[in-house]
């Protein structure tokens, strides 16, 4: 584990953007009507958003960033850091953050870099941006996080299709003397890298004609080697064993009690995992908001999507003590404790 804190960094605002196209798991054809009902009840996901062909994560993040910058009234030349957290970039090369820097009209002096993380990525993005800002000692940063995971999944895979959904987000941070400290606890375990993986298409297993052949892996699962593999049981066991410990360590390190935290925003993995974590940490249901039912698992965008759709009034209206926690692909996980004070938070963008 890696415990640390950053000083003088304030979260200024959060926004999110989802594609207009909505699909329902009640219409999911690979399983029976009865299984669909069990799926919605146990996994907790009814509706998902799907990006149309040609729409990239960077487009959803760009919309989020433009609306947030506008609402904050920030000048573009004030933004000195742009972090783009995604596993669905525009290209393998170059980094999409460079393209976004130009598209958003940010100055050439802006530090732009991509972070290849999924479900844990939001917390890592905030950690990297706030550490860099603290080092610079001035300026403003944007953390753009999201994925179009639906583009990575075989439509003939009943284990992954009903889980994933698409979204982009933007979070604005700024250097401000005397802003409350932010505390982080970041962890990982690469021995579990096969739990969530796209096997072919990188340089370990370059794409070949064989990569593109559909294979029947088991009943209801037909996919290519270029499609995402999700091992649900491994992910469940890892999440419920590691995440509660990580959050408890964070609370101890920051000197906070769980009762004093207004909201714990967890990555929206699935209801079985998230409720197991909530119960292990002995958190009240009202402390743990969900956006899972209507927006599914949007990878690194789940935390901002949950804040924008479930907590807009609270986060814009009053000071809050929050813990956010991401966990998944890598395996990688992390949590952050932050105090927010009347953030800018535009309504969810549909695009």
């Amino acid at each position: 584990m890696s415990l640390f804190s950053t000083q003088n960094i304030r979260i200024a605002g959060i926004s999110a953007c989802v594609p207009r196209k909505e699909v329902s798991n009640y219409d999911f054809e690979l399983i029976s009507q009865k299984e669909r009902e069990l799926l919605v009840k146990s996994v907790g996901i009814e509706k998902r958003r799907v990006a149309e062909k040609g729409v990239c994560t960077s487009d959803l993040c760009q919309k989020s960033a433009e609306k947030l910058l506008n609402e904050l009234g920030w000048r573009k030349d004030e933004v000195s850091i742009l972090i783009f957290v995604t596993q669905t970039p525009d290209y393998i090369t170059p980094a999409t953050s460079n393209i976004l820097q130009d598209k958003l009209g940010l100055p050439g002096s802006c530090i732009a870099l991509d972070i290849n993380l999924g479900c844990s990525g939001y917390v890592y993005g905030i950690a990297v941006a706030s550490s860099l800002l603290a080092t610079l000692g001035k300026g403003k940063a944007l953390v753009l996080a999201g994925d179009i995971s639906t583009a990575t999944i075989s439509e003939k895979d009943k284990s992954a299709t009903p889980i994933f959904s698409d979204a982009g987000s933007a979070t604005a941070l700024e250097f401000e003397s005397h802003a409350p400290e932010m505390y982080f606890n970041l962890q990982g375990n690469g021995s579990g890298y096969k739990a969530i993986i796209i096997p072919d298409g990188g340089y370990r297993n370059p794409v070949s004609s064989k990569s593109l052949e559909y294979e029947q892996v088991s009943e209801g699962i037909i996919r290519r080697k270029t499609d995402l593999v999700l091992n649900g049981i491994d992910v469940f066991n890892f999440s419920v064993n590691e995440v509660p410990k990580n959050v408890e360590e964070l609370l101890k390190f920051s000197g906070r009690e769980r009762q004093g935290i207004d909201y714990f925003i967890f990555h929206q993995a699935n209801l079985l995992i998230n409720e197991s974590i909530r119960k292990k940490l002995k958190l009240e249901p009202k402390q743990v908001p969900y956006s899972l039912r209507n927006f599914g698992n949007t990878s690194s965008a789940t935390i901002p999507v949950t804040i924008v759709t479930q907590l807009k009034n609270e986060i814009t209206g009053k000071p809050l003590k929050m813990v956010a926690c991401g966990f998944g692909v890598g395996l990688s996980w992390g949590s952050v404790y932050a105090e927010t004070n009347r953030l800018a938070c535009p309504d969810l963008i549909e695009w």
Binding site: S159, E219, F236, N237, N241, S276
Partner: protein, 77 residues
């Protein structure tokens, strides 16, 4: 932990099964309503009730509810 309690708690997860029809000898994959999703639901149930982690490989080696009970019993000890 008792086998009878364990059988009952697993049985409850299968909505189409009449109460009292499942025993230790029941092969759980042959129960009405079995699916890969049920595997995850049962692993979550065992984690919540007994604080025992059952891996995908361990589950694959179990055929009957008794096999599963023995596994959980051994790991809980």
């Amino acid at each position: 932990m008792q086998l009878s309690d364990f059988v009952q708690s697993i049985e409850k997860e299968f909505e189409d099964t009449r109460p009292g029809t499942v025993t230790g000898e029941t092969e759980f994959r042959k129960l009405e309503g079995w699916s890969s999703m049920m595997a995850l639901i049962i692993i979550a149930k065992i984690d919540s009730d007994y604080s025992v982690t059952v891996t995908a490989e361990e589950l694959a080696e179990c055929n009957t509810i008794n096999d599963l009970f023995e596994l959980v019993h051994a790991k809980a000890a």
